[in-house]
């Protein structure tokens, strides 16, 4: 699937640029995208290193275990197929908390470490499990409580009330995340039904 998406973006983009004659921006993007990625890598390396260091302090102090215990009912409902003693529970909780607080830079390394744990329980190492899909859905539908970057951009654009979108964003985020969770649960259930049906017949 990622295969097709990637091919589509490149083929469609290049053919369209050839037809419309916007070759120069195309060539610029091709040469600059790798450089931009390298600049991003350096930034990410710094933030990941910092946050994984902080995360390990929280891990060693037992804080993550504590938080994971508190959040267990929610996590257990959302991620049905993770064993209770798995490190993934704490990491997912930290990922969601960091996302809620708007610390995307911290959320990503937590999420990636959680992914690594989830992969241990994956029978098919190339196909995402329901728990992995759910983690992605929650990350991609955003659970941020305060959209800080948007607010600061509104301030910069000279808004008379930069913060009045907080409530509308909260409502919308709630609706999108809930939609994602419900759909994810439905997809997981139909997939399971199909598999069970396949075994019986």
């Amino acid at each position: 699937m990622i295969n097709w998406l990637w091919a589509f973006l490149i083929i469609f983009g290049i053919i369209l640029a050839l037809f419309t004659g916007s070759i120069e921006p195309l060539v610029n993007v091709i040469t600059s995208s790798a450089k931009d990625a390298a600049v991003l890598l350096i930034t990410l390396m710094g933030t990941y290193t910092l946050w994984l260091g902080v995360l390990n302090i929280a891990k060693k102090s037992g804080l993550i275990e504590q938080i994971a215990k508190k959040a267990e009912p929610i996590i257990a409902f959302l991620f049905k197929d993770i064993p209770k003693q798995s490190k993934a529970n704490g990491l997912i909780t930290m990922n969601i908390i960091a996302n809620m607080l708007g610390m995307g830079n911290a959320a990503t390394p937590f999420g990636l470490m959680a992914m690594k744990e989830l992969q241990k329980y994956n029978p098919n190492k190339e196909k995402a499990t329901d728990a992995m899909c759910m983690l992605l859905i929650i990350n991609a539908t955003s659970v941020q409580l305060l959209p800080l970057t948007v607010i600061s951009l509104r301030v910069a654009a000279g808004s008379i009330s930069p913060t009045d979108i907080i409530l509308t964003s909260l409502i919308t985020t709630f609706v999108t995340t809930l939609t994602g969770i419900i759909l994810g649960k439905i997809f997981a259930k139909t997939k399971r039904l199909k598999q069970n049906g396949g075994i019986k017949t």
Binding site: M45, N56, I57, S61, M132, C133, L136, A140, P147, I165
Partner: protein, 173 residues
């Protein structure tokens, strides 16, 4: 008010973790270094995925493909009272966070930051994330090639978000 309050979140979060660890008698410096060592490897591991995604998204967005998608979507929009101006943002949002911020800034300039379009765009921006980047990063880092139902689910949620943002904004403003 809200802005300055939220600035406190990050330092307080770190302060809490450090003090809690000291109370629990953790060798915090050693723990930090041990954890931090994984950061470099993690960043290198996801680097090929970042290059692949930035390369493809860059080609796609520089080609004028957004314009075509926008024209295709216009008739659907007028049905749901969604402001046309937010569509470039809606299309770019799943692909690239930094590009969508550029588009958001453009919307503020073109329609005004406190216009209806500006507010719907702000609401949308604050309520979704960059899907394809997240997918390639998270799944790529552990070698998952088949993302299952993740992509359709999040895309549907994004459409629901676009409609919700428009409705909620028209109720509030």
């Amino acid at each position: 008010m809200t802005l300055s309050f939220s600035l406190y979140i990050l330092p307080i979060f770190i302060l809490f973790i450090i003090i809690y660890a000291l109370i629990k008698k953790v060798d915090i410096y050693d723990a930090f270094i041990k954890g931090a060592k994984e950061g470099v490897g993690l960043a290198f591991k996801i680097f090929p995925y970042i290059v692949a995604m930035m390369f493809a998204v860059g080609i796609f967005s520089s080609s004028g493909a957004l314009l075509i998608l926008q024209n295709l979507m216009n008739p659907i929009l007028s049905l749901a009272s969604i402001p046309v101006g937010v569509i470039p943002l809606f299309i770019m949002r799943p692909f690239s966070g930094s590009a969508s911020f550029g588009i958001l800034a453009g919307i503020f300039k073109a329609y005004g930051v406190d216009s209806f379009t500006g507010r719907v765009a702000s609401t949308m921006m604050g309520s979704t994330e960059t899907l394809f980047y997240t997918v390639s990063l998270y799944f790529g880092s552990v070698g998952i090639k088949n993302p299952g139902y993740t992509i359709p689910v999040v895309l549907i949620a994004d459409v629901v978000g676009l409609i919700t943002a428009s409705i909620v904004c028209s109720l509030f403003f």
